[in-house]
């Protein structure tokens, strides 16, 4: 079994100081305290393209933008039942993030799969933001446990439950993993590069398909996303 115990574990506020962020290293395991809010394409479009007023004080109340829609219900008495919490893939939001980071002052972007190191260098670093990835991606029950309460749900009528802006109060919520650091390096890209060294051996004894497809690349260090 690998030495998972070797990894460094850190408690972090959702309104983190610049020093706390600068101290984080790729692969650190992070647990969050404070308010986080969910925002994905629905919120971005409404706030940025339709210029609706963001119904929170950002980043004072929270500098943690979670790419997520929780498994939750809004009860008829206006209360909320929240079960599991799982991130959604972030690369799809690259289009809105530069403007969003500048406008919201978010310092932590939390999601699935990360972005490219180019994205980090281009607009995460200038805004002093880093990217945290959820772990395994399926750890919805663990993360759900870290949510102490649902503070508010904004825009659920306009956007539906999945796209609404959920404001969650968190205590020791995690695990998350540091995917980008204050210099804009990416843990995923570091790992991809290590794995790429071995790939040609794995592919021995295989052959490319007779019928090619448009846009096909034979360079497996490429990523098909983005």
């Amino acid at each position: 079994m690998g030495n998972a115990g070797k990894l460094r574990k850190v408690r972090l506020s959702t309104t983190p100081s610049a020093e706390a962020l600068a101290d984080l290293r790729l692969g650190d395991i992070v647990y969050l305290d404070g308010l986080i809010y969910t925002a994905r394409e629905g919120v971005y479009m409404r706030a940025l393209e339709e210029s609706a007023n963001i119904p929170m004080e950002l980043p004072q109340q929270s500098a943690a933008n979670f790419h997520c829609s929780p498994a939750a219900t809004i009860n008829s008495d206006g209360t909320f039942t929240l079960g599991a919490v799982t991130a959604t893939a972030s690369f799809r939001f690259a289009k809105w993030l530069p403007e969003w980071l500048a406008k919201s002052g978010a310092k932590l972007v939390i999601g699935k799969g990360g972005m490219s190191s180019q994205d980090y260098k281009d607009y995460f670093v200038p805004n002093g933001a880093i990217y945290l990835s959820t772990v395994g991606y399926g750890t919805g029950a663990l993360l759900g446990r870290g949510v102490k309460s649902v503070k508010e749900v904004h825009w659920h009528e306009e956007l539906g439950i999945a796209q609404a802006m959920w404001v969650l109060e968190c205590e020791n919520m995690g695990p998350f993993i540091v995917e980008s650091d204050s210099k804009g390096n990416s843990l995923f890209e570091r790992e991809n590069a290590k794995i790429a060294e071995n790939l040609h051996k794995v592919y021995e004894g295989t052959r490319p398909a007779t019928l090619k497809r448009f846009g096909e690349t034979d360079d497996r260090t490429d990523e098909v996303i983005g």
């Binding site: 079994m1 079960g83 919805g140 539906g160 999945a162 790939l199 295989t206 007779t210 990523e223």
Partner: protein, 320 residues
């Protein structure tokens, strides 16, 4: 005669079980993978997943916040009768899906593709999918719900006989490597491969191979079974583990299903049933008895039949 109310109440329990309880076969497979994993980051991820399954059961909350796309597989014996007929059955399954979405709760994932309309209950046009199978003999109804996750990890390719096993391997590896990076497929997964059929039935075969066969199950054709073993190994030798970190756990198991195809082609589909391999099954008997299990036991000799007609045990005994 099986009552519709029993179908609905059983279906609601199944939705809950599928969302919360990881099937034992997958859990055993993942535990073994966690023991064998030597990458530090990958190990941490697998440990967190094992903890997550335990927490889900303890708290009775969904194991993953993403519900995937809940669907139903319905199988019945040749003698089964359902109160109200097939329309009542489909009503019961749609109601159970909608109710469970609120009660578990599950994330309401299903929206209109263009207008993004969300009924907040995972029900809509064509949702949930309901597929049917039949078995000779018997008066029972098998309900299986699968909550397959993942926008990623599934692909189709038209190959040709000349592409051979080498071409199949290439497409298999390409799919794993492409979707495994950054762990988009939420591996380690049960990989289902469909070979042959037609484009649509090939997709169906691969998906069923991933979702309706359990870890450790092998195709009855010994040569295909050997291929399943080989492909499992191959996937785990890529050097990639959970979340795309350096490691060796990509594939908990590989299941292959085949169908007769056009003489000129060799269709291939790959499906990844993710870390939240959610399935739950119940058999309802005519007397109202219900048995729960996690093995859909879908691919019976009848489902894989090659002959023109199906000879039942009795008739073949008679003709012999």
């Amino acid at each position: 005669m099986i009552s519709t109310s029993l179908i609905q109440s059983t279906a609601e329990i199944l939705m809950d079980k599928a969302a919360i309880e990881i099937p034992q076969d997958y859990l055993d497979g993942l535990t073994q993978a966690a023991d064998a994993e030597d990458g530090d980051l990958s190990s941490f991820v697998l440990q967190a997943m094992l903890e997550n399954y335990a927490v889900a059961k303890e708290d009775r909350r969904a194991m993953c916040g993403d519900t995937g796309t809940p669907r139903w597989y319905v199988k019945m014996g040749n003698e089964t009768q359902i109160e109200g007929g097939p329309i009542a059955l489909e009503n019961a399954l749609r109601l159970a899906t909608a109710n469970a979405t609120v009660n578990v709760p599950l994330r309401p994932n299903r929206v209109h593709p263009l207008w993004r309309t969300d009924h907040n209950n995972n029900v809509g046009i064509g949702a949930p999918e309901i597929e049917y199978g039949f078995e000779p003999g018997g008066e029972w109804l098998d309900l299986t719900t699968v909550h397959k996750g993942g926008l990623f990890g599934t692909d189709y390719r038209m190959l040709f006989p000349s592409d051979g096993i080498e071409g199949i391997k290439r497409f298999y590896l390409d799919s794993l490597v492409a979707f495994g990076k950054r762990g988009l497929a939420c591996q380690p997964a049960i990989i289902g491969i469909g070979l042959g059929g037609t484009k649509d039935s090939c997709m169906v075969l691969g998906k069923r191979a991933a979702c309706l066969r359990i870890v450790g199950d092998r195709n009855p054709d010994p040569k295909i079974a050997a291929l399943e073993d080989e492909f499992k190994e191959l996937g785990n030798s890529i050097g990639m583990g959970a979340m795309g970190f350096v490691g060796k756990s990509m594939v908990i198991d590989c299941n292959i299903e085949v169908g007769y195809c056009h003489t000129g082609g060799m269709q291939m589909s790959v499906h990844a049933f993710c870390l939240s391999s959610r399935r739950a099954v119940a058999r309802i008997y005519a007397d109202g008895q219900v048995e729960y299990r996690t093995d859909p036991d879908w691919f019976t000799p009848y489902q894989r039949r090659e002959s023109v007609t199906w000879e039942t045990q009795e008739s073949s005994a008679k003709s012999a």
